[in-house]
Symmetry: C2
């Protein structure tokens, strides 16, 4: 009842063969307008909906995409996911969402599962394990988002973190800060690496004194943010501002600083990274580097779909520009600790 009608029923009602029905439903070419109309009417009357499964079995596209992310519970991902979903739906695709939790086993299993389900393409945020199962010769539409493995064989779309970090440091510098601490992630992912290296690069480019002890590496979490300021305080090194690896860390940092009686931005300026939704709800509102995550997801999807349709098969390496959004956690340098 739910499914019911098949192409056969349509054929019978329209008084034509199933091949004809199939043709008007697809090509719509080489079929007389008279028959075409009959078929269309029959389809209408019966409320016929073509069976995706059967088409898929004949090797037709399933109009289905797979999306592999660490976890949707990380507030960084929802808008990216939304970006791919919107673009996908706009083109008639549905998307399987999978959380890998950064586990090799899960990632690989989910990847295979998606292939089994005959998705037309896959979008994924790469991990250090990704290269293990992504064979280079693979003729399958795949694009990486956010984190990627640098390969001429695979497309990716991410954000220009070098620029992001420059924006942040430039801002802090212009505010008079010269002792900028970096509290980031010790992950080896493309994003974490780029941010860390760019920090070092721009500290030097702006002719500030580079100091190892101004750097603490931890995790991309609130709790880690708190821990990292503790570590920083323990070192008794002077700093007038902090660049954080992401917004979550920044929130933790602000909380951690509060525990030492250090006020933001009065005593210390803090800039985050990502601009997740909550950054503008936080108190004080977070100055941060905005990653256009929605656009990243959207563009990645645009690319897979082009690969699938054959409209454009070239591998693309895209870095979208981030922007600085100034709110309340940074201000002109005054006192120093």
């Amino acid at each position: 009842m739910v499914s019911g009608k098949s192409i056969k029923d349509v054929a019978k009602v329209a008084g034509v063969s199933i091949s004809t029905v199939s043709r008007v439903l697809n090509d719509s070419q080489n079929v007389s307008s008279e028959l075409k109309q009959k078929v269309l009417d029959a389809v209408q009357n019966l409320g016929y909906r073509s069976n995706t499964i059967a088409r898929a079995l004949k090797g037709m596209p399933t109009k289905t995409l797979g999306l592999l992310i660490p976890t949707i519970e990380n507030p960084f991902f929802p808008s990216m996911v939304r970006g791919v979903q919107d673009e996908a739906h706009r083109n008639g695709y549905s998307v399987f969402l999978c959380n890998t939790d950064g586990s090799r086993i899960i990632e690989e299993r989910q990847f295979k599962l998606l292939l089994d389900k005959k998705v037309d393409g896959i979008i994924l945020v790469a991990s250090k394990y990704t290269t293990r199962y992504l064979k280079n010769g693979m003729e399958f539409p795949i694009v990486m988002i956010d984190r990627y493995v640098n390969s001429p064989n695979f497309s990716y779309v991410t954000v220009d973190h070098t620029m992001g970090v420059r924006l942040a440091i430039e801002h802090l510098y212009s505010l008079g800060h010269r002792k900028i601490a970096f509290l980031g992630s010790k992950l080896l992912s493309s994003g974490a690496r780029e941010r860390f290296q760019s920090y070092k690069r721009y500290i030097e480019e702006f002719k500030m004194k580079f100091d190892d002890s101004l750097i603490v590496l931890g995790e991309y979490t609130y709790e880690s943010g708190i821990k990292m300021v503790e570590e920083l305080m323990k070192r008794k090194v002077k700093f007038d501002s902090i660049l954080c690896g992401n917004d979550l860390i920044a929130f933790g940092v602000i909380e951690g600083l509060k525990n030492y009686g250090i006020r933001v931005p009065k005593d210390v300026s803090v800039v985050g990274y990502d601009d997740i939704t909550f950054s503008s709800y936080h108190n004080p509102k977070l100055t941060t580097i905005r990653q256009p995550t929605y656009e990243v997801g959207q563009m990645a999807t645009r690319i897979v779909i082009d690969m699938i349709s054959g409209a454009d098969r070239r591998v693309k390496h895209i870095k979208i520009e981030p922007s600085l959004v100034i709110r309340e956690t940074t201000r002109k340098r005054g006192s120093e600790i």
Copy 2:
């Protein structure tokens, strides 16, 4: 190449018929252990993976679920989604995630699309449109989460908001507050309605003076929270505490209050609702009613899967208990405005 091997190849290698292969892959009954082993070996050697599409065409389950939510960008949903995904994956299911944005057109289209894709079951947060396409006689595994339509025909799992609101008011009452304002949603969804009605009920049950002008209804957003305190202030009514319809409103409320020089919790206590991740990162940390959203998603999934497998077809109406989590935005009543 990606797919390649079929049951036919396995049959050839194992020296048996395809029916036999199919049988060991499914029933595993009525086939001699000798042949069974041969087949299993062949499967192993060839790296054969059964073709989901072909099985689906024969009416076998697709091991696929559909999940329909308003939008993943609402921080209330990610952990609920995670709950269903985890339970789904644990049982070998993949899940299609769809955002409806509360639009009738989209919701209905996505629902049909899921049916077309032959999902085995659907989990959805109901809207006022849901009843339009959900026919009562429908023999299809569906369960609603969070918001629901009250029907003996459909299962749902949600949270006991009556209890949630009682918890909140009880807490505020015990702190000495007697003028509790309610800033909630004007939505007609089950959740919004219950919260509002329970507010009225418990204000009276605790013998506090019920006052219409302590109530403002808006949207479930930060911005609306700000607007609602403005409205409240305009009314010049006295209040010593505020119960918010959700956490997002609460954040807005705290910000809005700040604009009037009113401090939380020193001057006014604020209680949120939901306990989204950020509530514990917010400054001050939000006292709120925790909805166990992960469990809601998980349990809903458990139920659909049971319906699918036939293990348990009964319709279930489940309300999970929320809890009060006391943090920094409430305190014993002192001054009053």
